[in-house]
């Protein structure tokens, strides 16, 4: 048994002195806890350390993505890939249109996005030798955009950290500590996205174009608007118009504009518009689940979606939506078997919608929304 010797006992002289010291320290701690912010500072310094180590991890991630991309660009015949990526990463931004005056905002936003896309295309064309095919040019643009996104997020995080530290803004540092693990997961996924685009492998977001491609795997694609194609096909007596981005390069095309043009050229004689897209699943839901609903299934900043909705409303065409569920990471990395199974299921659902809601002789538009990397 351990015998405890308490300081109150008279024979322990040194212990009594120690006890007084102990007591003073305890009281000092209490005082510091209540009347000073010493403990907050200690906590802040711990947060500071955590943020710094996480930012360092993010920097490593960015450099990995960058060296991976550099290797790819070098293989395509670019002499100074590091410089190209640096130039692109720090020079491309889009200033959002004025939103307190909503007239025309979609038109203005669409215009800006278009100009941005064109600038990126011309930048890519200026750096690549003319021997590189179109699909690879699209892929290079996406790889550059991934690097841009990683860099931009890092710069914003670093800004928040330094700003919080400079102004002793503890709340901001605490929020950073809380949110950094989530952001890091997203960035990790973004880093992994370089590989499929490098090799031209379908990603989760390619689910929509893949469903459309299943209707007509080898048929001729007819260009309709920039980077977007359509295919005319017979299906159980109906005439179906399949709309997708121009494959197999990494692009999302302009499905909204394409549908608008197609419906116009058919003089509104369309019985249904079916959009198929990848959708973010909720936590707990299974990847590759297929859901069916009403509306335009498309996740663009606005211009494409609104033109689908306006066209459908103008011509009174029912809008069907089929989505394949996946996580945000799965959406931008290699397409998994579960998602492919979802694609096959979505294909059946679309066929079912066509046969149930239209009659033979009708015209139906099926649009596969999403990035068509690796899908013709």
């Amino acid at each position: 048994m351990v015998e405890l010797q308490f300081p109150q006992t008279p024979q322990a002289g040194t212990s009594t002195e120690l006890f007084i010291l102990f007591w003073i320290i305890i009281n000092l701690i209490w005082f510091a806890m209540i009347f000073t912010d010493l403990f907050d500072r200690i906590r802040v310094s711990r947060w500071d350390r955590v943020i710094r180590s996480r930012l360092a991890q993010i920097e490593v991630m960015i450099n990995e993505a960058k060296s991976n991309s550099e290797g790819y660009l070098k293989d395509l015949g670019i002499n100074d890939p590091a410089n190209v990526i640096r130039n692109f990463s720090s020079n491309f931004f889009l200033i959002e249109p004025v939103s307190i005056e909503p007239t025309d905002i979609i038109k203005r936003l669409g215009h800006l996005i278009r100009i941005r896309d064109e600038r990126i295309r011309s930048f890519v064309d200026s750096i690549l030798p003319s021997t590189v095919d179109k699909a690879r040019r699209f892929n290079v643009a996406v790889v550059l955009e991934i690097n841009w996104a990683l860099n931009t997020v890092f710069r914003i995080l670093r800004h928040l950290y330094l700003f919080g530290k400079k102004h002793n803004y503890w709340m901001l540092l605490m929020q950073l500590v809380m949110i950094l693990p989530i952001i890091m997961k997203e960035l990790e996924a973004l880093k992994k996205a370089v590989d499929p685009f490098k090799l031209g492998i379908p990603i989760g977001d390619s689910a929509g174009p893949m469903v459309v491609s299943m209707f007509a795997p080898r048929d001729k694609r007819i260009p309709i608007v920039e980077e977007t194609v359509y295919i005319e096909k017979e299906f159980e007596g109906r005439k179906i118009y399949l709309v997708k981005a121009e494959g197999p390069g990494g692009t999302v095309g302009r499905p909204g504009e394409a549908i608008e043009k197609l419906v116009e050229s058919l003089n509104c004689d369309v019985s249904a518009i079916i959009t198929v897209d990848a959708a973010l699943k909720l936590e707990g839901e299974k990847s590759g689940e297929v859901a069916y609903g009403v509306g335009a299934a498309i996740g663009d900043p606005g211009p494409e979606k609104i033109s689908i909705e306006r066209t459908a409303a103008k011509c009174g065409v029912p809008l069907h939506a089929v989505v394949i569920k996946m996580s945000s990471e799965e959406a931008i990395t290699h397409m998994t078997k579960e998602i492919y199974d979802g694609v096959a299921k979505a294909y059946d659902v679309v066929k079912d919608i066509i046969t149930r809601s239209t009659k033979p002789g009708d015209k139906v538009i099926v649009a596969g929304i999403g990035n068509t990397v690796g899908v013709y």
Binding site: M1, E3, F6, P217, R218, H334, I339, V343
Partner: protein
Amino acid sequence: MVNDGFIGFQIDIFTITLIMLLILFAISTILNVMQQRTKPVREKVNTYTVISCVNNDHEERREFVPGDYVGKVIANKSCPKCESELYIKTIYSEKIREKP
């Protein structure tokens, strides 16, 4: 001093407190270091290409080769059953989590 004969040493409350604090400090340091050392789980990705006959009577799976895309017609090979064209039906990947 009473000693009941089992363990023959004495210990006072300050020593206990000190030892306890030292142990707690050591544990928190170890936890901190461990937390910082957790490396992200490495992921290995195997990508497969599924080739199918246009008449749907034959299907085979092989490793992905750069240049493959869904809908591509295989040039120098035809269906072993009906001699028709082969095309790439799908490309999907399997992600295997590896522990370092």
